[in-house]
């Protein structure tokens, strides 16, 4: 097994951080890709972030109420070694013009 970490994505409009409102998953839980994983709040709005991959949640980097900077680790998954080798999985649904999602941490 391998691990993949995802940072808090750039939420646009010059926002530098977000506060974790509520985690929707917990360590040890298997999540499918696109499953909602966390609600975050910025100074402008509240946003729900979906999982960028399928995998088992290993670590949540922060608790409800904590502030996370854009680019800092948000969540780490345990994934199969095959999955870990895939670079830049392309999201299949493209119908929305602007969609905030997590991206792979390099």
């Amino acid at each position: 097994m391998a691990e993949r970490s995802f940072p808090l994505p750039d939420l646009g409009e010059g926002l530098i951080d977000a506060t974790i409102l509520e985690w929707l998953v917990e360590p040890g839980q298997w999540v499918e890709r696109n499953t909602p994983i966390v609600e975050v709040e910025t100074t402008k709005s509240a946003i729900e972030l979906p999982s960028p991959i399928a995998g088992t949640v290993k670590t949540l980097h922060g608790e409800d109420g904590d502030t996370v900077n854009v680019g800092d680790p948000l969540i780490t998954f345990e994934v199969s070694d095959d999955e870990a080798g895939i670079v830049g999985t392309v999201p299949q649904e493209q119908k929305k013009e602007r969609r905030v999602r997590l991206s792979k941490k390099n």
Partner: protein
Amino acid sequence: MRHVASADGTEIAVHELGDASGPAVLLLHGFASSTQRNWVDAGWDRALTEAGFRGIGMDLRGHGESVKPTGEDAYDVARFFEDVDAVIRSLDSEPDALLGCLGYSMGSRLAYRYAGAHPEVFSSLVLGGLPASDPFEGIDRDMAVEALAGRLEATGPTAFVVQLATIFPEANPQVLLDVVFGVSRAPFRPAEDPPAVPMLLMSGDKDDRADDTESIVSMAPDARFAPIPGRNHLNAITSRTFKGGAFDFFSAHLR
């Protein structure tokens, strides 16, 4: 996304969300927001799909990808009613299909007034963040204009409107002031002409913009209230409690 022309020619943006084969729910976002921000970013597209509902998100005139006419005449409540009429007429649904409506804040006020005036259109309503009074009453236009120009600091309810009007880069703050003064020409009075259909009212229990929602229950014949724990006016929109409550209610009244 498609556009629908309203009675006065204003083009209204309509976004299809959720499961196209499910019962339909019209989504009306809040002041200074949009379908994208109020519903899609907050996770409602996924949640609608999962729950098996078709969401029809309309960007209110002056907002999102709808046309933004200037002048408060363009934002009389009657114009918003015509926009809802045009969007509903554009749906390719069966004539006897049930239609629900989900609103938030200003969108909830619009849904409440529209359903009161058009009792045959919606079979049930879920209204989030709805105060019992009109938050746009008592807004000082001169103060708001001066504050938008950076010449003074707005205070009181005017400060909140100025803050919201400038929060998102795609919005036109001057147009949003026209919205405020257009829709509040006839202030919101929930005791007047309340909707008769089943209605679920939900507000965050920390929502100081809508801390009197429950008082509306006694004004309408078939209304109930459920709080959204731990949430305020801006962050209630992502809540699982809000989503779950809305879908349970629509499941009971739209299927």
